[in-house]
């Protein structure tokens, strides 16, 4: 099921949104128990929304995503629908408002089926830290789908929906896209409004799409991007034109294959990246090897900055106003009991890390130092983009790994994001596109990186790789 085809068909009256949604709901019913993709399904609401889309189409509305079913990562607020960010602490909470992206999708005719599982507060790389149990990879249910947007990726990979939204703080769209054989886009910071996205690390978080094809991802991104007065950090400009540039190709483009973005990757991943470079060369690009040593500092800077922001963003879950409350003899005891019961181990680990990094006497050595690294990272990318216009590397070091393989070793889990984190620190754009297969026929993703606002160029390059398919 392809989103462009669905929308065209619904617009043409060849099918109805209700039929499309009903079909998707059947697929969810078939596989959700096994895969644990949706942690909240709103079948009734989805069918009602679909009926309204059909009415709008009948009334002559031209909707770019007419009748297209979508899955929403559970950290996106939907009015009246359970929204938990994968955490027990928000169990039962129903936001009184829609995230900006949710409103834009609905305006474009898309129909949300429900909320997709995720690592708790987006902290994880395998969707195993969810309070609602792990999600399994539809391509091999003994393996993880990646994370933290694993539910969104799995929903698309399992054919439950053609497209889905995730959020990417350190790779949480691109890594699961790679592990599930999908296209995943981490847009430029500020391209997509964060209003209504439950914050993990505010200076790094971006919402973006998952899809089987570059064209579908581009269309969804066009719908959700563009300035939002409710998000001060959103770029002051309308959504970029992406779909019209998909066939721009890469002729004359200068591509840098980044040594540090393949170092430590499995040989089959390295091989896929090399073949991607050859494909781009054949399509008319010039590919050279480049080195950006600062990339190696990214992981440690990220694991100070993101937890520091998270320690503050997650303070509000104190049992006073909404979500879980575990009573105690006084307010402070209630706060502690609520947070002790409500947060999982990974979230607690990061709150402690972040609190420590910001504490008096440690700020300069940790958080302050990490900010300096971040500045160096931005400068290093700028130097690279003075020479080449696109960077190429691996998305993840390996194909999808087995459930439980890394849950006892946080550092090994953190290393899953080593290639994706630098883009978030720099606030720039990157796309993961499937390219070839590795162990057990599982997909490999390669990553295309560009400066801020380079989405059109990255998607055109991704399209060249997609056409080749890595075979």
């Amino acid at each position: 099921m392809n989103a462009l085809e669905v929308a065209a068909s619904v617009r043409a009256g060849a099918t109805t949104a209700v039929e499309v949604v009903a079909e998707c709901l059947e697929r969810v019913a078939t596989r959700n128990a096994e895969l644990n993709v949706f942690i909240h399904l709103d079948a009734e609401g989805a069918l009602a929304s679909a009926a309204r889309v059909d009415e709008r189409v009948a009334a002559g509305a031209s909707l770019p995503l007419a009748g297209v079913p979508v899955a929403l990562k559970d950290n996106l607020c939907v009015r009246g629908q359970p929204t938990t960010a994968g955490s027990r602490i928000l169990a039962g909470w129903r936001p009184p408002y829609d995230a900006t992206v949710v409103g834009r999708l609905a305006g474009a005719g898309a129909v949300a089926l429900g909320k997709a599982n995720m690592d708790e507060f987006a902290m994880g790389s395998s969707t195993e830290t969810s309070a609602y149990g792990p999600t399994r990879n539809p391509l091999d249910p003994t393996r993880v789908p990646g994370g933290s947007s694993g539910g969104s990726a799995a929903a698309v990979a399992a054919g439950m929906v053609p497209v889905a939204l995730g959020s990417d703080t350190g790779g949480s769209i691109r890594q699961p896209a790679a592990l599930c054989g999908l296209v995943g886009v981490k847009p430029t910071y500020g391209l997509v409004s964060r209003y209504g996205l439950i914050a993990f690390a505010s200076s790094l978080d971006q919402i973006g799409p998952f899809a089987h094809t570059v064209a579908e991802a581009a269309l969804v991104l066009e719908v959700i991007a563009g300035h939002d007065p409710l998000d001060t950090t959103s770029l002051p400009e309308p959504a970029p034109e992406l779909s019209s540039h998909l066939d721009d190709g890469v002729a004359g483009r200068r591509v840098g294959l980044v040594r540090e973005l393949v170092e430590g990757a499995d040989p089959e991943v390295l091989d896929a990246v090399r073949r991607a470079a050859e494909t781009l060369t054949r399509a008319g690009a010039t590919v050279e090897e480049v080195s950006i040593p600062e990339i190696k500092l990214g992981l440690s800077a990220y694991y100070l900055i993101a937890p520091a922001e998270a320690s503050s963003n997650l303070a509000r879950y104190d049992g006073v106003r909404y979500g879980l409350r575990v009573d105690g003899p006084d307010v402070e005891a209630m706060n502690v009991a609520t947070r002790t019961v409500g947060f999982g181990d990974e979230v607690k680990r990061r709150i402690m890390l972040g609190t420590y990094a910001l504490s008096a006497g440690y700020y300069d050595a940790y958080y302050g130092q990490a900010l300096k690294v971040r500045t160096r990272m931005i400068e290093a990318f700028a130097r690279a983009y003075a020479r080449v216009d696109t960077l190429l590397g691996a998305t993840a070091p390996s194909v999808a790994f087995a459930l439980g393989a890394k849950t006892q070793d946080p550092l090994a889990m953190y290393l899953s994001d080593v290639f994706t984190i630098p883009t978030n620190l720099a606030g720039e754009a990157a796309v993961s596109v499937p390219f070839g297969a590795g162990e057990g026929g599982l997909p490999i993703g390669v990553q295309l990186l560009g400066p801020a606002r380079s989405e059109a160029r990255l998607l055109a390059a991704a399209r060249v790789l997609e056409a080749e398919g890595g075979r």
Binding site: C77, I198, S202, P229, T232, D330, V331, A360
Partner: protein
């Protein structure tokens, strides 16, 4: 008790003022006092997951106006998060300004000629309001706590003085002058009793010439009077402690207005690592120079300038007259005085009447426009109304508005013909021969007796001065 020779107190004030914006600092909720609890809230000021702040342009303008009125420099600034847990703070952090405030480095000149440094005046959001029920009535040990988030996110400017104040009277004068400036900028209504202006005082004592000593921060200072009393109490307490060989602990102390004492609220060691870091949901605030200059150009005259102007109208004012000038400026009723003087009323009368008759809540005298005020005083000056009648007319106008002459007629305040007054006085002389005799022999106090009789007979409508003139004429 005061400090002995050679010792002095060192005081710095932190003044929080709510800004008179229509909406809150980071959302579109109404910024208004007194609504039903939790009716002026939205996802943003409740800190709901996913919500984001958007800075209020008008709040920035008013903050700049305060800074410029205090001769501070407006600079590009950033917002930080001040992290601590408290139930009335929806996000469990406060968005404030830290190392780069919007206004820095100004000063304020007091009426006595002293100059107090202003370190900074920065923007931040207010918290909600907790009510603790049962038990101790404080957060620890209460049975239940209720929180009203209407105030959460209301814009505040915190004005931090340098530790330049050396007496409680000077601290009080600073607070009063600052209040006048805040009101003159339009940024604040200056109401301490509603909490729209809140003062914390940092107090220490030291031997003159030695370095500053450890300070304590005083809270719960709800009036200028309690500010002054609390500082005096605290300076005495610290001196007594030091004099008896003790050491002052850095701590936050609570002023108990009823008992007239300060007591420990929070010791510094227990407190407070706020883990400040730059608020990632907001961008740098960098007002364009043209905007800053427009705000500067829009500033009206400040209280010192206004006092000087009014005092000049009086020539060489007496202390009582200068008090009236201060009151007029405090009340912000310069316009009424100006209108009256323009209508030909003597400045002395205009200032005195404005100071005495225009006190209280401006909303409760909305009908008393500068024009009506001027016309009433004009009637008084021409003798058409007695002083008592004029005050009654002013009070009536305040409540219901209208034309002063018409109001006077409705009240039955016809000017008493002089012949009528003379015959009344003659009758009273005849009825009180003994008092008249004493008056004739030079006991002027008896003039009051006869004036009182006339006022009773005319229900206060006669002109007291005219009565005395008739009495004098009869005495010959």
């Amino acid at each position: 008790m005061s400090l002995p020779e050679g010792w002095e107190m060192v005081v710095g004030l932190e003044v929080h003022t709510e800004l008179r914006t229509a909406t809150k600092l980071f959302c579109g909720c109404a910024n208004a006092f007194g609504a039903e609890p939790n009716t002026q809230t939205c996802p943003v000021c409740l800190g709901l997951p996913g919500s984001l702040p958007v800075l209020n342009r008008r709040a920035v303008e008013l903050a700049m106006a305060i800074g410029l009125a205090l001769h501070a420099t407006v600079s590009p600034s950033t917002f930080h998060r001040k992290n601590y847990f408290y139930p009335d703070m929806p996000k469990d952090f406060q968005i404030s300004q830290y190392d780069r405030p919007i206004n820095a480095g100004g000063h304020l000149d007091l009426p006595d000629g002293s100059r107090v440094g202003i370190e900074r005046a920065h923007l931040e959001e207010d918290t909600g309001k907790s009510t603790h029920l049962g038990g101790t009535g404080r957060i620890h040990g209460a049975e239940r706590s209720l929180v009203d988030y209407n105030r959460a996110g209301v814009p505040l400017v915190e004005i931090v003085s340098a530790p330049d104040l050396r007496s409680s009277a000077q601290a009080r004068a600073y607070a009063a002058e600052l209040r006048g400036i805040l009101m003159a900028t339009g940024a604040s209504d200056g109401r301490m009793e509603e909490g729209s202006m809140r003062i914390d005082a940092n107090v220490s004592v030291h031997r003159v010439g030695e370095p500053f000593a450890t300070r304590c921060e005083l809270k719960n200072l709800n009036s200028l009077r309690s500010l002054q009393r609390a500082i005096d109490y605290e300076a005495d307490r610290q001196y007594a402690l030091v004099a008896s060989g003790g050491v002052v602990r850095q701590e936050t102390r609570h002023w108990d207005e009823d008992r007239g004492v300060t007591s420990t609220m929070r010791v510094k060691e227990e407190a407070d690592d706020y883990r400040y870091f730059q608020e990632p949901d907001l961008v740098e605030l960098d007002p364009a120079p043209a905007w800053v200059e427009a705000v500067r150009a829009g500033l009206g005259p400040m209280p010192a300038e206004r006092r000087a102007r009014l005092a000049a109208l009086l020539g060489t004012p007496s202390p009582a007259q200068f008090d009236a000038v201060e009151t007029v400026v405090d009340l912000g009723v310069d316009d009424h005085v100006d209108a009256a003087i323009a209508a030909g009323v003597e400045p002395d009368r205009a200032i005195a009447r404005a100071a005495n008759e225009l006190a209280g809540d401006p909303h409760e005298r909305a009908g008393l426009t500068p024009g009506a005020f001027a016309a009433t005083l004009r009637l008084e000056q021409s003798g058409d109304l007695s002083a008592t009648q004029a005050k009654t007319v002013l009070a009536t106008l305040a409540l219901s508005g209208g034309d002063p002459a018409a109001v006077a007629r409705e009240l039955g305040f016809e000017r008493m013909a002089s012949g009528e007054l003379e015959s009344l006085v003659d009758r009273l002389i005849a009825e009180h021969p003994e008092e008249w005799g004493r008056y004739r022999e030079g006991d002027d106090k008896l003039a009051q007796f006869f004036t009182g009789q006339v006022m009773r007979a005319t229900r206060g409508q006669a002109d007291g001065k005219a009565v005395v003139e008739v009495l004098r004429a009869r005495r010959g």
